[in-house]
């Protein structure tokens, strides 16, 4: 039987195997937490921590250097991902996970806690959410200059 850390690691490895992360590793492990690092959107290095006792996963600095207004938009976007108006296969089920956003020094972090013990679902929900932040939230026109400045990309290289 797989332990909870095994489930999280295996689910994340699935994404690495699918080319979603271009690089992936477990960088620190203790009884209570596991830290992972992956190279993902905009070639950024993302840090993810699994809190074993709390059954929660936290992405630090999903979006760095944000403004307060952007954070408000971000929270709205996250809430919309849980809307019953979305098709079931694209909706994050609030019965399964609780999502908490926070902002410190401009950096937005996202924490997902498995409510019903379904950790695979929690990992998939979190990965799907951050993926949509980069695929949808950042692309609607308001954050074009933010991406140029924050991710330090050349305008000709921003896709």
């Amino acid at each position: 039987m797989l332990t909870n850390p095994d489930i999280v690691t295996k689910t994340l490895e699935f994404y690495a195997q699918k080319g979603v992360f271009r690089a992936f590793s477990c960088i620190a492990k203790s009884k209570d937490s596991i830290r992972y690092r992956m190279q993902w959107h905009k070639e950024r290095s993302f840090g993810l921590t699994f809190d074993v006792p709390r059954q929660s996963l936290r992405f630090e600095a999903v979006l760095p250097k944000t403004s307060a207004a952007m954070y408000e938009d971000f929270k709205r976007f996250v809430a919309e991902r849980q809307s019953p108006e979305l098709p079931k296969h694209r909706r994050i089920d609030p019965e399964e996970v609780r999502i908490t956003c926070s902002r410190r020094n401009g950096d937005i972090s996202v924490l997902v806690r498995a409510r019903a013990g379904n950790l695979e679902y929690a990992v998939r929900a979190l990965i799907g959410l951050v993926h949509e932040v980069y695929q949808v939230f950042l692309r609607d026109g308001r954050y074009y200059e933010y991406m140029i400045e924050t991710f330090e990309v050349d305008r000709d290289q921003l896709s």
Binding site: K18, P87, H89, R90, Q135, L158, S159
Partner: protein, 651 residues
């Protein structure tokens, strides 16, 4: 011919007229009168006319060369091979004289334009809307190097483009004899499928076969041959002197790799088990003319389809199973099947769910698994695969998936309309046309009025222009849309590329047959038009009817890169209010100048009607402001396109 409007802003009314400008120059009434007399005495400025030699030359009967008598030159032998291979068209500037004259004489449709680079783009455009092999040609050295940007664009687009150039004489190699010496083949390294400097006159046919083997089989790409004088002008009176002088059925094959039956069955099983399967119909589906098979299979099994590649329309945007506008639904797909995706993105570059299952069908094995890990890789011809799918895939109804596609398309339409509403507001506030408004007006002309929505071939390029216009252009039948900046991101070939595409429409080649003679339309920017504006002369010369909409925002689209760098801004700006419409008039086309949505609507309609009726091209100068890309002041700013689908240009 000209019907240019003169829209006068209050500032312009204060500007000096010709009369008031000269007034202070005259010392008095006598001097002014003397000057007027002089003006009156000046001979009238002659009109722009098409030389009478032009129709005569175009109506000449093709010449069949023979080994008898004076025999055939190396150029004529090569031209014979091009003709036998049905080379669809050649676009060139004078230079490489022996070869271009021989190809034209052999009966290959030939066009002469104003710069080799533009002619290269035109050949690419002709190929993009037909799938056929085309050629471009230029003189050694400068003419050849002028083509480089557009050879690069053709390489990124996997265009079967034959690049020809003369290259001095072998006898002068390394001596810098006379002028224009250059090593051509190293220059095209990294942007061709095959290349060769021909050095043995008796192998000219053999290397022609090399060229077409590469152009017509496998994954297409540019082939570059450079002809030294010893080869082009060599004379042959005896076919026995030529190596490998045999017909195309001997030197290449039409045979294609048929996909393994078991693997196809596995793919069909995966498609069947998926709830929301999506086919990405890549360029290979167009190149192999497999659109009917694709449509049959899609309608039978109700899977969604989105096209990708430098050409759009091999699955209609207006089809109920099209995901080209269904941006949200792309992320719902639970199985992706890439068919003939020649330029492969990485997983996060397409708007799919993270980790979605993928199958890839590709004509050659080397590329399968590159960039995008697959559950199943199938080596095989796209048409053969889709034939099997059309014949064997079980019929299935997917009502929920079809409904989701429709809802998603409606949502994207709403976003477009929201941008349009913002654009209208900005246009009214500034008396300049916002790009979202320009895009909607072009859309309404082509797809929401009296014109058959399948009729007009369109192309689009430029940064701001491409981003706003791309999401409003539709491709409802094969070869209807050209993504001018596809993958390479070249700014500027748009106009020339669409001259080539429009030439194909005029001739009714391949998928253009049903719309033979219809006008085409290109939307480009003030930055872009500078690279190929002169091809209005070519369009006028050959009566190619093209409506060019030029978004004039007085700057390079990337001007915000200078914000915060005070000593840089001058490098990003042009003179304001340049009159590209006037420049077009000077080249024998019509010019229109617009500043409001209403003026644009009228100008578009007028220009299209004249293009259809009289084969006359028009440039519509759409006066805008660079600041419209500032999202804070003028929302929505730059909303990056969703890939794949309408507006996609990277893959």
């Amino acid at each position: 011919m000209s019907e240019s409007k003169s829209i006068q802003s209050p500032e312009k009314e204060k500007a000096p007229s010709r009369r008031s400008f000269f007034k202070p120059l005259a010392a008095g009434a006598a001097a002014a009168a003397a000057y007027q007399t002089k003006l009156n005495a000046a001979p009238p400025i002659p009109s722009i006319t098409i030389p009478k030699d032009l129709p005569t030359s175009l109506n000449e009967t093709p010449k069949v060369s023979s080994f008898e008598g004076r025999g055939m030159t190396g150029a004529e032998i090569f031209a014979k091979l091009c003709k036998e291979e049905d080379l669809a068209a050649m676009f060139c500037c004078p230079g490489n004289y022996t070869v271009i004259n021989a190809i034209a004489a052999a009966g290959v449709p030939a066009y002469g334009g104003r710069s080799e680079g533009s002619m290269c783009a035109a050949a690419d455009g002709f190929s993009r809307v037909t799938g056929e092999v085309t050629a471009c040609s230029g003189t050694e050295g400068p003419g050849f190097t002028n083509m480089i940007m557009n050879i690069g664009a053709a390489h990124s687009a996997r265009t079967p483009l034959l690049v020809l150039a003369s290259n001095m004489n072998i006898a002068g190699d390394d001596r810098e004899a006379f002028i224009q010496t250059g090593y051509q083949q190293p220059t095209t390294t990294g942007m061709k499928k095959y290349g060769k400097r021909l050095t043995e006159p008796n192998r000219v046919w053999e290397y022609g076969a090399y060229a077409f083997r590469n152009l017509k089989t496998g994954i297409p790409g540019p082939v570059h041959l450079d002809f030294p004088g010893e080869v082009a002008r060599a004379r042959f009176t005896d076919a026995a002197k030529l190596t490998d002088f045999y017909t195309k059925d001997k030197y290449r094959t039409e045979s294609r790799a048929v996909p393994n039956r078991k693997e196809v069955e596995q793919a069909m099983d995966m498609i069947n088990k998926a709830e929301r399967p999506l086919i990405v119909a890549g360029q290979g589906v167009f190149q192999r003319k497999a659109w009917e098979q694709l449509k049959i299979a899609a309608e039978k099994n109700e899977f969604a389809v989105v096209t990708s590649g430098p050409t759009r329309g091999h699955f209609p945007d207006d089809h109920r199973l099209s995901a080209a506008m269904a941006h949200d639904a792309l992320r719902s797909a639970d199985l992706i099947v890439f068919i003939g995706q020649y330029c492969m993105p990485s997983p996060n570059e397409y708007n799919f769910a993270a980790g979605v299952k993928a199958i890839r069908v590709h004509p050659v094995p080397e590329d399968i698994g590159r960039n995008w890990p697959v559950e199943l890789g199938i080596v095989g011809d796209e048409k053969a695969f889709l034939d099997m799918l059309a014949n064997e895939i079980p019929a299935k109804k997917r009502d929920a998936w079809v409904s989701e596609l429709a809802a998603s398309r409606a949502k994207t339409e709403k976003v477009n309309l929201d941008h349009y509403a913002l654009g209208l507001k900005h246009s009214a506030a500034t008396n300049h046309v916002h790009p979202a408004v320009m895009a909607k007006e072009v859309h309404d002309l082509l797809y929401a009025g009296d014109i058959d929505p399948k009729q007009t071939v369109t192309g689009c390029g430029g940064w701001t222009t491409g981003i706003f216009m791309g999401r409003w252009l539709r491709a409802n039948r094969p070869g209807q849309g050209v993504v001018c900046g596809y993958q390479y991101g070249a700014i500027g070939p748009d106009m020339a590329m669409m001259v080539g595409a429009s030439a194909a429409v005029q001739r009714g080649v391949g998928p253009q047959a049903a719309y033979k003679g219809a006008p085409s339309l290109v939307v480009t920017s003030d930055a872009g038009i500078a690279y190929s504006l002169f091809e209005f002369d070519t369009a006028a010369k050959y009566k190619i009817p093209l409506v060019a909409v030029v978004y004039n925002n007085n700057s390079w689209g990337m001007w915000p890169a200078a914000v915060g760098s005070p000593r840089s801004m001058h490098m990003y700006l042009f003179q304001e209010n340049l009159r590209y419409d006037k420049m077009a008039e000077g080249l024998g086309a019509r010019g229109e100048y617009v500043q409001t949505p209403e003026e644009l609507r009228a100008a578009l309609k007028r220009s299209y009607q004249i293009a259809a009726r009289e084969n006359v091209s028009t440039l519509i100068n759409v006066q805008a402001l660079k600041d419209f890309t500032n999202g804070a002041a003028y929302p929505p700013g730059i909303a990056l396109p969703v890939e794949p689908g309408v507006g996609a240009f990277a893959h």
